[in-house]
Amino acid sequence: MIDTEQTAFIQQIRTALKHTDADGTRLHGLIQNSPEEADRTVLSRIQDRDRKGRLKLLERLNQIGQSVNVDVTPARSPADVSDAIAKIVADRNPEWGDRKSVVAWNHPLVNSLDLFNALEPLNIPVHAPQTATADSGASPFRRRAETALIGVTSADFALAETATLTMKTRTGQPLYVSLLPSIHIAVIGLDQILSNLKELYTLLKWDPVQQAEGLTNTMTFITGPSKTADIEATMVQGAHGPREVHIFVRVE
């Protein structure tokens, strides 16, 4: 619906720019419609990357992660990850609830950890989103996320050069799982590591699977724990979101 407000608004800009045509043809020059040679090079570089190249990126991710307080750990099996998560749970105190709890995405990599059974001996409840309800008020699962100690997600990609996790919004994978709990843990596969933002944007723009999905209603990039330097320019971790970020990379 283009209302009169929009028409008047755009017209004022047209007048300011002294544009007389109004057919939108100028957009063709502004928005890239087909990949350039450089884009194809990036796409094939990603596609042709072998295990050795990926392990190299993992090393870089680990190295950069240390400089932005992201803990990167290679894991040989799902049990490796769930054992490590159990250790983290045992070590930390609850922040938002009276007792420790974990919320997790409904995602193949997360489900494979079988956290429910792994944390049962510690008597730590694990919650995952169950059924969608039409009313999008605060769901029972969100209530659980509000008091959870740990949120476990996967991610679409991890960028080695900045230690950044990227994720879109999909059913069963609400973004607040990476935001509300005190600790955020992400589990990804080795093939989900990219080199940098340029590779990511090239995929988002030109990869057919990414194109078909679009950016979804919310896409987020996460680099390190929540932080602030608003009091006397002194850096403090844990402003509003998670105080810790851990990435487990499945390398088997």
Partner: protein
């Protein structure tokens, strides 16, 4: 703004050692970090020049890009509102709040909402408004104004914040910054979970995909845009890019300019309401696009470049004037060199005349700008308009007497005989004015010239006469 308020606030700031230490620390860390970051860009520092070009092309096609953005946001299920002025922008937000029976709104930091006066309007409509950026929260509790674009509470000490939190949040006094941060984390968490509306600004919108993007380090903007049932984004009409390729370049530069980071801690693309409870997100998504004087800047090719600005605040972190006087003297949400140009253009060149005249034209702001905006050129242009008047911008000559005197001067220096007579008269006249030794200590009728320094006397003999008499002699060798 009163003529004297800039000078008075600046003078107080210069006398405040705590503020000056904070400003020095801020500039030392961010100013240098940003410069280093530009040098370390994979594409090299020339990326700033490419970005300038991208911004130019974008602004020159703003009409079509905004129409495309609006269409794509609507395709994603969001609502788009256009507001030619501040009142309309505020009214849109009040209408949305009324429709959804909103009692409390949480806000991410947004200079635009300061510009249009959103908070007082919401509050008089009975909506509690909570600023959630830690710095903004502190100054909201204190009832003050932001003094830096990305570090709004840089003028406050930990002791002041401790007293403030102890009074308003009921915590014991402490000098420990992590403890103070934790107190705000706890207080604001409750607000995030209870709020019915989230409001944020927009760093850059992407026309191709129909998303606005926000960047923050605290995570407050993610909370604001994800948790409440209604989300409203405010966007200055120039804050747009055509496609993802441009976005990638500009937001990397934005992160460097703002906080010397390769990438901000959290970057969010927000493009519409959540689909169901299992994917979450707001139930309604509104984008309010605001002109409020920007199309007037757009219409003037000499000031159009100001609309390339991404509001990162990078110029504040290098400006020698901002570094001494802080943000409050600039009397608006936009301080530093960016404020010295944009505030007069949005709110009146005569009214904010002190701002451009207070800057030094040293050029540091241009070097620090992620999109290489020529701020010194525009500062000079503003001064020119104040000196000579400008019909198009409704500028009247700031000081007609000064203009008259410079007119006389111009006449004088073009007429040698007249100049010589005036010089002789002045040489005689100066025997009557007060002096410190050989220097004039007070110039009657023009005391501003001698308020903070003494003036040299006019020489007994003109240079040209001395030169001729000296040139007539032969060197002794």
């Amino acid at each position: 703004m009163k003529q004297s308020s800039y000078i008075n606030i600046a003078r107080d700031a210069i006398r405040n050692p705590v503020l000056r230490k904070a400003l020095f620390g801020l500039q030392d860390r961010f100013g240098k970090g940003t410069a280093k970051g530009y040098l370390e860009l994979p594409e090299g520092p020339e990326l700033r020049l490419l970005a300038h070009d991208i911004r130019r092309q974008t602004i020159e096609n703003l009409d079509d890009l905004l129409a495309l953005l609006a269409a794509n946001v609507r395709n994603n299920g969001g609502h788009v509102h256009f507001a030619l002025d501040a009142e309309t922008a505020v009214r849109h937000c009040l209408d949305i709040a009324a429709q959804h029976d909103v009692r409390m709104a949480v806000k991410g930091k947004s200079m635009l909402t300061e510009e249009i006066g959103l908070n007082p309007a919401l509050e008089s409509a009975g909506v509690e408004v909570v600023e959630t950026d830690l710095g903004e929260y502190i100054i909201q509790l204190a009832g003050e104004n932001p003094s830096h674009i990305i570090a709004p509470a840089i003028h406050k000490t930990r002791q002041e914040i401790s007293s403030l939190f102890s009074e308003k949040l009921g915590i014991p006094k402490t000098d420990d910054i992590p403890t103070l941060t934790l107190a705000a984390r706890k207080a604001l968490r409750k607000k995030f979970l209870q709020a019915d509306m989230g409001i944020s600004g927009c760093n850059l919108a992407c026309a191709e995909t129909g998303h606005v993007t926000t960047v923050s380090n605290e995570g407050n903007i993610r909370m604001t845009t994800t948790l409440p049932k209604v989300y409203v984004a405010f966007m200055g009409m120039e804050r747009i890019v055509a496609d993802l390729r441009d976005h990638q370049i500009l937001f990397r530069l934005l992160s460097l300019g703002a906080a010397a980071q390769k990438i901000g801690g959290y970057v969010s693309y927000l493009g519409g309401p959540g689909k169901d409870t299992l994917s979450a997100g707001p139930r309604e998504f509104h984008l309010i696009i605001v002109d409020n004087g920007r199309s007037r800047i757009l219409a003037d090719p000499e000031f159009r470049e100001m609309l390339y600005c991404l509001r990162c605040g990078g110029c504040l972190n290098v400006c020698p004037v901002y570094g001494e006087i802080g943000g409050h003297a600039y009397a608006s949400a936009y301080s530093g060199p960016v404020g010295a140009v944009v505030t007069p253009l949005l709110r009146g060149i005569n009214r904010f005349a002190d701002l451009c005249q207070g800057e030094t034209l040293c050029g540091a702001c241009m070097d620090a700008c992620p999109v290489n905006i020529d701020l010194p050129r525009m500062l000079l242009l503003l001064r020119n308009k104040l000196a000579e008047g400008d019909h198009q911008w409704d500028v009247h000559v700031k000081n007609p007497l000064e203009q008259f005197i410079f007119g006389m001067w111009s006449h004088l220096v073009q007429h040698p005989l007249l100049y010589d007579v005036a010089l002789r008269l002045a040489r005689m006249g100066q025997t009557l004015v007060p002096k410190h030794g050989q220097m004039i200590s007070r110039l009657p009728f023009a005391e501003g010239w001698t308020r903070s320094r003494d003036l040299k006397k006019i020489a007994d003999q003109r240079f040209i006469h001395r030169y001729r008499s000296l040139a007539g002699r032969q060197p002794h060798d």
